[in-house]
């Protein structure tokens, strides 16, 4: 099948949905680029990671909107446009900038439907680049999905590959609730098989990436491929695992995790966020509450340490869970 990078897969989803649904608009900083520049060239960026490239020439300035650096206004305007009947896809260049516009995300978007007694929906998508691995420092590398997963009213998506990213983006735009869509910047270039045309992946349905016997590994976003590397290495020792990619953190498909644990009895959760109040600790708590009987050993959480993301290569490498650290943890657990 055709191979596309995750960047191009998301780009294709945006193209498809903008062509299909005139209510879809895209807004954010440099989503096209070149406005007011001296070259006369528009679409000079297409987003700093190139994800929105080509949308402006196709759909025009009313639907592809370059904004000033004003995150609160970007997300707030997306909210307002959604209430007024549009389906905005707002780009927050880096997930860290949630810090600038959090009111519009968690007091506004998240609340409308419930607080207004179901009178309205807020069908916005906030696309944002997440994660460490590119030495971008403490304010451009965080994994902040736990923060929004904690907020009722928001849906949270963290794709791990190109195929899922496209299908999940189409679902996200069509969903009536606000969706925060975390795109790991280190896997934008990674290619995978992506069918042409329209397909959707439902929210709240985990992917069983691999099936095995000895352990259940739940991994999020970029950590899925790290877990696969670890499992490749462990295969030689006869250790196999169910590898589960939740794909959406809210709603979360916890049932698939419990079912797997009935067979394996052992759980490893891999998350590149810091450990406290994280998605890893949340899944561990759910499992402890709902599937305690299935556990043969304590749950293992492999996370970043409780520190900001460091800059230097050596430090960032030590910060992010690695295929090696995952491999070692799985081996220890299985041999326990």
């Amino acid at each position: 099948m055709r191979q596309l990078s995750m960047r191009d897969a998301i780009n294709e989803a945006l193209h498809l949905e903008m062509a299909r649904d005139p209510r879809v608009i895209v807004l954010g900083e440099d989503v096209s680029g070149g406005a007011g520049g001296t070259s006369g060239q528009r679409d000079a960026a297409g987003g700093v990671f190139g994800v929105t490239k080509g949308l402006l020439p196709k759909f025009g300035e009313d639907r592809v909107i370059d904004t000033p650096i004003s995150e609160s206004a970007i997300i707030g305007a997306a909210n307002g446009a959604a209430l007024a009947g549009m389906r905005p896809v707002a780009e927050l260049m880096f997930a860290d900038f949630l810090g600038v516009c959090f009111d519009q995300v968690f007091n506004q978007a998240a609340k409308f439907r419930y607080m207004f007694g179901g009178k309205t929906a807020c069908p916005i998508v906030i696309r944002t680049a997440t994660g460490a691995g590119m030495n971008m420092g403490a304010q451009h590398s965080q994994s902040m999905y736990a923060l929004v997963t904690a907020v009722p009213g928001l849906k949270v998506v963290v794709p791990s590959n190109a195929y899922d990213a496209k299908g999940l983006m189409l679902t996200a735009i069509r969903d009536d609730d606000p969706v925060v869509f975390f795109e790991h910047k280190a896997i934008y270039p990674r290619k995978g098989a992506v069918p042409e045309g329209d397909y959707t992946i439902p929210f709240g349905e985990a992917a069983l990436v691999r099936e095995g016997e000895h352990v259940t590994v739940v991994a999020i976003g970029r950590m899925v491929s790290f877990a696969e590397k670890a499992l490749d290495a462990l295969a030689a020792e006869g250790i196999t695992a169910d590898l589960i990619d939740p794909r959406t953190l809210s709603p979360l498909d916890d049932e698939t995790i419990y079912e797997s644990l009935e067979n394996t009895g052992r759980l490893v959760i891999v998350d590149e966020s810091p450990p406290r109040c994280s998605v890893a600790s949340d899944i561990a708590a759910l499992v402890a509450s709902n599937a305690f009987h299935a556990l043969k050993a304590p749950i293992v959480q492999i996370t970043a340490p409780h520190t900001p993301v460091p800059f230097a290569r050596e430090l960032e490498r030590a910060y992010v869970p690695s295929p090696q650290s995952i491999e070692a943890a799985i081996r220890r657990l299985v041999k326990q």
């Binding site: 007011g36 070259s39 000079a44 370059d66 650096i69 304010q139 460091p310 800059f311 030590a318």
Partner: protein, 322 residues
């Protein structure tokens, strides 16, 4: 009153140091040794130095993602900065911060900042501290044309006016925020006018002219020190490189940088001015050039051979108990 020759020469040395630091980084980045993203300040030197020439270590500045120039102008150690940018253990922030987070409180440098609009509220806080201590010191918030579209910046400006805080907002209008022109993104393109709307005096100056920036800062400083509250300086300038290293600059006319290097080079303009007025002789300036080149060479050599942080450094400087 013209600056005495020693201060003029110091200003030239700082501008030249910033320029060579950045031009050299532009080259070194191609080697792949420098991690992350780097935003160079070449072209804007007269702003950082024109402002900071008035300040000492007890005054404060808050900087931006494009912070190397502000750091050098405020007196941060050049080799310590270079080590930081290379991500070395003996860097100014132990390799934990990087290019976008260089800070040195002992020099009154409150930090470069990777959040656009993050700095100005912090600068106002430092100005409040100066006011409370009645120490006659001030705080400067540097920002770009793009930053003046951020709500946090407006909040900081209004707060400074309300509190009559000794804060000075310096906006460096280099024409672009990333890939977008300021004439598109900054409604009215009149940053000084916005500042006046908050009730503070504001002036626009030629950011390629050290003397113009320096004079504007002199007026703002006098007002701040005399309890008159904040001011804004809008400096028209240019950047000689892309937004970040690797930016193909598709939004800029092909010859724009070359033209600006001809007509808006603050170092050339400075040299012409001081020799025209016989303020400094060119031998002294040439000697500074040579010293600066040697300093940058030494810094790069030191950074290249310096030790990286170790895994143990990951868990220091933060409260970790689990």
């Amino acid at each position: 009153m013209p600056l005495p020759p020693d201060r003029l020469l110091r200003a030239y040395r700082q501008m030249k140091t910033i320029r060579e630091f950045e031009e050299r980084l532009h080259v070194e980045i191609q080697t792949g040794e420098i991690p992350g993203f780097t935003h160079l300040y070449s072209g804007q030197e007269a702003v950082a130095v024109g402002i900071c020439e008035h300040l000492d270590d007890a005054d404060w500045i808050a900087s931006t993602h494009r912070g190397h120039g502000h750091c050098i102008a405020k007196g941060c150690d050049v080799t310590g900065m270079m080590l930081e940018i290379y991500g070395r253990r003996d860097g100014l922030c132990k390799g934990k911060g990087g290019s976008m987070h260089i800070a040195d409180m002992s020099k009154g440098m409150l930090g470069a900042n990777a959040i656009v609009g993050g700095g100005p509220p912090i600068a106002v806080g430092a100005a409040i501290a100066c006011k409370a201590r009645r120490d006659g010191k001030v705080a400067v918030a540097f920002g770009g044309d793009g930053s003046c579209n951020q709500g946090t910046v407006f909040e900081a400006m209004n707060l400074a006016v309300v509190l009559k805080a000794p804060a000075i907002f310096v906006f460096e209008d280099n024409g672009y925020s990333e890939h977008t022109g300021a004439d598109y993104a900054v409604g009215s393109r009149d940053i000084a006018g916005r500042a006046r709307g908050f009730g503070m005096p504001a002036e626009t100056c030629d950011g390629s002219d050290f003397f113009a920036v320096h004079a504007a800062m002199g007026r703002a400083l006098e007002r701040a020190r005399n309890g008159g509250g904040p001011s804004t300086i809008e400096a028209k300038t240019t950047r000689f490189f892309g937004h970040f290293e690797g930016d193909p600059m598709l939004y800029r006319a092909k010859d724009e940088v070359a033209r600006h290097r001809e007509t808006m080079d603050c170092l050339r303009i400075f040299r012409a001015r001081v020799s025209e007025r016989s303020l400094l002789d060119s031998a002294a300036l040439d000697a500074v050039d040579a010293e600066v080149m040697a300093l940058i060479d030494r810094s790069v050599a030191a950074a290249r051979s310096a030790a990286p942080p170790t895994a143990a450094d990951l868990l220091t400087d933060v409260y970790v108990s689990y």
